[in-house]
């Protein structure tokens, strides 16, 4: 990028965009009432959004005298024209989109509600392209340096031999993993992805605060931020000429693909610790965006020196792992022995050249901030020159001179542990009182090699929307660079995060910091990406069959839990309606209704104290177990949805969020509506579950994923129908009661209207049974479920065999179907004493057959986790 002509362009472009926004170009589709354009807009707008910055601190958007910097002009004018209320509306819209996309960030230690919506401030961070060009060049240089550093540390260690780095800086660091010695990737780069945290200091220069090198997070969130911003502010975004992010991700995919040892249809997987990880959303999002499988420890196995994914049709080889699991958890044989997040023998597969992991195992050592202390010497040794992009002044307490300085200047420094663990935190000297400072001094002196201190950088502030106005917040930028064949490509911009308050020091997502989209303004509209990085259409037919078995298992159970919850809600709703209805129902009917509720929700029946309906109603509501049973099933369903996030559409996620919402207020609604129509409290949940079923039916590709979910659903529904028939029609009671119970059954199965249309009579047992058992046109009949199950089972992959014997799942279903077809209504209706024994036996057989079928499917298709143990218990202390 040549510099002087561009900077002239930049000046003129800044002027142009200001003058344009003052004339005809209107950045928003709808302007607020009275939104006058022209010089008067700052004063006449009824509800303006004006940014004035904070006193005495450098501002990204404003000069010291309050003048707007050129590259911020268009954005700030546009926000002002939009006004506060409209901006608030857009922010609300963004929040909805984030939620529907399932964009969450999990905060550790919050067990009750760990999953938070990803925090996005809708005012972007703006950088001009000339300045960015310089930063970018510095980031490429730094990535190259860290790559060379990594190769030396796990190779000859010349930097130690030559005395450039003190031995303790490397050998004392827990991220230095000796088993990783000598592992190299194909090509020039071992470090595939390099991230830094950057801040602009009060002199206006960007300085690097630290590096992320093992599995840098944030790139996926940056992409999501961009996606939301471009949807919520389409014209503002379009007219601002923002550099695209897509090239970065195409390069990332191309690089990962090129690493595969076997270039014939390489399979790449994203290794995640699981749904409870803080950045799980990003793992699923990136896997989806890049077209890779999302896998966890249990999905993988090493066999015969290769890594395999356990999938429906057996084992599928994995060539490249894009990992989001920390180094030392990746292999229980050679690294952390008690880890459940890795794969046994993974490192040996890498050494054999049968798998590439990016970033390579052991790369976490580069996050050691002690290296920052020696970085100038390291750069001169490895690159032969000084780095363009400065690093924050860093002191290592393992050096006696540095230690003395740190102890004397503690109030002005930020102290960091050299190894970043889950509980390690940076401590800000300026925030500590004398007692805390002394305590810190003692802590440092006890173990000086384990601490560094850095100068506190007061980061430049940028405008942020705080609900009513634009306020100044400190911002830092996480950058991302990915290796290419010859160099590195830097994401234009990156992920901006901002402090919680003006001048606050702590900026960390775990502390609740919000993020911003980062706009690097192009001097002219960007052309579409050139051909060399365009995606080739890749056939994903193979992938339809190669879902990890853990994923199909979760889909199967998601179907089962959804159906189970729906059956419980429906029977409960029917019970409420009948007990509250104008027709008086007998104690006998009440008894059986309560029994049905208890059978279907699998809760103990409450003894009925009084004789009237209110008492019966009261007994259900006071039985907390019923509600717990329903919310338990729904929570289990939501967990399954989290585990299969990458397969569900954002529409599906919206409905899942509705379920989450309805669930969280179920208890309250239930208590409030006791006096009248309590059944209505259940309606939103039933509706949401129906919507979910409908969406899946209408939008999910008929691959194995869908088949397993629908198999779970059909199987569970079949079981629940049999259970309802068993509870409501097996008891032989006087005709009036019989009719009421039949009505309850039909109502709970949504078949009462069809029944009335067909028979126009009181509900009788034989006709009811025909409708809910035999009628294969009724989507809530047993026969319908069995036929669908048959279709699914026949379509699932089978082991190749020359025998003609039916597989056990098909035999089980055939027995069930035949028994249904051979049943006669009269025989089923025949009662002996107080029960229809034949019907009872038939329904119980169906229930057993369904449970049996579920077991057969589990055995055949799902992953069986075997308990592993260490052969020799090692008390690994991470050194």
């Amino acid at each position: 990028m040549s510099q002087s002509p561009v900077s002239e362009d930049q000046v003129s472009q800044g002027q142009t965009s200001q003058s344009q926004s003052q004339s005809s170009r209107v950045p928003f589709e709808q302007l607020p009432q009275g939104g006058q354009q022209g010089q008067s807009m700052f004063t006449e707008h009824p509800d303006p959004l004006i940014y004035t910055g904070a006193n005495g601190v450098l501002d990204e958007a404003l000069f010291q005298d309050g003048q707007v910097r050129d590259h911020w002009g268009y954005l700030l004018n546009s926000l002002n024209e939009l006004g506060c209320q409209n901006f608030r509306d857009r922010q609300a819209k963004a929040l909805r989109i984030l939620r529907d996309d399932g964009a969450t960030y999990n905060i550790y230690g919050e067990n009750s509600n760990p999953s938070h919506i990803w925090g996005l401030d809708m005012v972007p961070m703006v950088l001009d392209s000339v300045e960015w060009g310089k930063v970018e060049a510095g980031l490429v240089e730094r990535a190259e340096l860290f790559n060379l550093l990594l190769r030396d540390l796990y190779g000859p260690r010349d930097l130690i031999r030559q005395g450039v780095i003190p031995p303790e800086a490397l050998f004392c660091h827990r991220g230095f993993l000796r088993p990783c010695q000598g592992v190299h990737l194909p090509g020039h780069h071992d470090l595939i992805l390099h991230s830094t945290d950057l801040a602009r200091n009060q002199n206006g220069d960007f300085v690097v605060l630290g590096d992320r090198t093992q599995s840098p997070s944030g790139a996926g969130y940056a992409l999501e931020n961009r996606s939301v911003m471009s949807r919520v502010f389409p014209s503002l975004f379009r007219d601002s000429h923002v550099h695209r992010l897509s090239v970065f991700f195409q390069r990332l995919r191309a690089k990962l693909t090129s690493l595969a040892p076997d270039q014939n249809q390489p399979r790449i997987a994203v290794l995640t610790p699981g749904a409870h990880n803080e950045t799980y959303f990003e793992h699923a999002y990136l896997a989806n965006h890049l077209g890779f499988n999302l896998v966890q420890s249990d999905d993988l196995v090493v066999r015969n020196g290769y890594l395999w994914m356990k999938s429906l049709d057996g084992l599928t080889r994995v060539d490249v792992l894009f990992r989001r699991v920390d180094d030392w958890f990746c292999d229980p044989v050679e690294l952390r022995g008690d880890s459940r997040l890795g794969v046994a023998s993974l490192l040996e597969v890498v050494r054999a050249g049968n798998l590439v992991i990016a970033n390579p195992l052991g790369s976490g050592v580069l996050e050691n901030p002690v290296f920052l202390r020696y970085l100038p010497e390291i750069a001169r040794t490895l690159l032969g020159r000084d780095l363009r992009l400065p690093t924050v002044d860093t002191y290592w307490c393992g050096d006696s001179g540095d230690l003395a300085y740190v102890l004397d200047n503690l109030p002005n420094l930020v102290v960091k542990p050299v190894f970043r663990g889950q509980n390690s935190r940076s401590v800000y000297g300026p925030e500590l009182d004398d007692a805390a400072l002394n305590q810190l001094r003692v802590q440092i002196q006890e173990n000086p090699t384990q601490f560094v201190a850095q100068a506190v950088v007061e980061a430049a502030h940028a405008p942020a929307f705080t609900g009513r106005e634009l306020s100044a917040r400190p911002v830092i930028l996480r950058s991302f660079a990915v290796a290419t064949e010859t160099s590195y490509t830097v994401m234009p911009g990156g992920l901006t995060r901002m402090g919680l308050g003006e001048r606050s020091f702590t900026i960390a997502s775990q502390a609740g910091s919000q993020s911003k989209d980062t706009w690097v303004l192009a001097s002219e509209p960007e052309r579409a990406p050139s051909d060399d990085v365009m995606d080739e259409p890749v056939s994903r037919e193979v992938d339809l069959i190669s879902l990890p078995s853990r994923v199909v298992e979760n889909l199967f159970w998601m179907g089962r839990y959804a159906e189970r919850a729906e059956a419980s809600l429906r029977i409960l709703r029917v019970a409420f309606m009948m007990l509250n209805g104008d027709e008086v129902i007998s104690p006998l009917t009440q008894h059986h209704l309560l029994q049905a509720v208890s059978n279907i929700t699998v809760t103990p029946a409450q003894p009925l104290e009084g004789q009237n309906p209110e008492d019966a109603l009261q007994s259900i509501i006071q039985n907390g177990a019923v509600l717990r049973s329903i919310s338990g099933n729904l929570n289990a369903m939501l967990n399954c949805a989290d585990e299969t996030k990458e397969l569900l559409s954002s529409d599906t996620f919206r409905v899942i969020n509705d379920i989450r919402d309805a669930l969280s207020i179920l208890d309250d609604n239930f208590a409030l509506s006791l006096s009248s129509a309590p059944e209505e409290a259940l309606d939103p949940l039933v509706t949401a579950l129906m919507a979910l079923a409908g969406l899946i039916q209408e939008s999910m590709i008929r691959g194995f994923g869908w088949r397993f979910m629908d198999t779970g659903r059909r199987l569970e529904r079949c079981y629940q129908i049999a259970m309802a028939i068993d509870s409501l029609l097996v008891p032989a009671v006087p005709e009036a009661d019989q009719s009421k119970l039949g009505e309850a059954l039909l109502l709970s199965l949504e078949a009462l209207i069809s029944y009335r249309r067909r028979y126009r009579a009181r509900v009788d047992v034989q006709a009811s049974l025909d409708l809910v058992m035999m009628d294969n046109t009724n989507p809530r009949s047993l026969m319908y479920q069995v036929e669908r199950l048959g279709e699914h089972i026949r379509a699932l992959p089978k082991a190749a065999t020359h025998m003609h014997e039916l597989p056990s799942d098909q035999r089980q279903l055939l027995e069930c179907e035949t028994a249904l077809k051979l049943s006669t209504l009269a025989r089923l209706n025949a009662a002996e004493g107080e029960r229809r024994l034949h019907l009872e036996e038939r329904m119980q057989t169906i229930c057993d057959q369904m449970l049996g079928l579920s077991e057969v499917i589990t055995d055949r298709y799902f992953n069986h986790r075997e308990d592993s143990q260490q052969l020799v218990l090692s008390n690994w202390e991470g050194m």
């Binding site: 005395g163 066999r303 044989v333 143990q869 052969l871 020799v872 218990l873 008390n875 050194m879």
Partner: protein, 297 residues
Amino acid sequence: MHYRVKHITEYLYHGRVSHCYNMAHLTPRNTSRQRCINSNVDVLPKPSSQSYRVDYFDNTAYHFEIQKPHNKLVITSTSEVQTATQPGALDLHMGISCRDARHAMFQSRNADILMAREYLMDSPMVRASSELRDYAEALFEDEKPLMVAVKELTSKIYTEFEYSPASTTIATPVHEVMATRKGVCQDFAHLMIGCLRSLGYAARYVSGYIETLPPPGQEKLVGADATHAWVEVFSPGEGWFEYDPTNDCMAHEQHIVTGWGRDFYDVTPLCGVIYGGGENPVLSVSVDVRRLGDPAK
């Protein structure tokens, strides 16, 4: 001396093991006084995949994976080695003094010394402490030759600690050994390493075998030998020297080295992950060190 070493490790599981992944350090390495002539590791059931590699410490690591269900795992390592006495170990009084050694460890820019500093630091199973320093400090007078002081430490540990095979499990923390004054060879090695590091000298853990000789007139029993562990200490400018606190001596021809590392953790003879297997597998180990005569003679 020319030896053949046969080291058999057997695990009996109470439950079936469906598959397992293991790493072994069972192949003797080459050192300044030892040459490994040949070596072979044989595993039953037969591994589905296996490989040898040279690890971070230049030891030979052997990896194997078994995919066949089994209740018993037998690993037989057979090696032929040629050993000699340590060079330059004859006159301990000639070498560098304790003070000069300490000074060199921290001030020298010599590459060997810088690299040896890795063995001055805490490691997974050995941490420096004031207790260990106090225990050994009096022996390491400034003007005394370092090697003399180390020899005295070897004798002190030999004299003051009881060899007691029943007293420790595989991983006994050093402070516990200090408290009970009992242990086995690896505990004494860890203890001695901890003392040396606490005083500012680099020391590493050596894992291997020792030939035991039967009482005069008796036939040597097969399997009566043992895996053994001792210590190497770094003398700046002079190199590494091996001391055996369990036998109160410097290592000699009868000490056969498989590998070295910061402590036991780096040279565990066999570790890994097994699937299934039930609780408390029964481990039995037998070692046989046979003299083959000295081919040099």
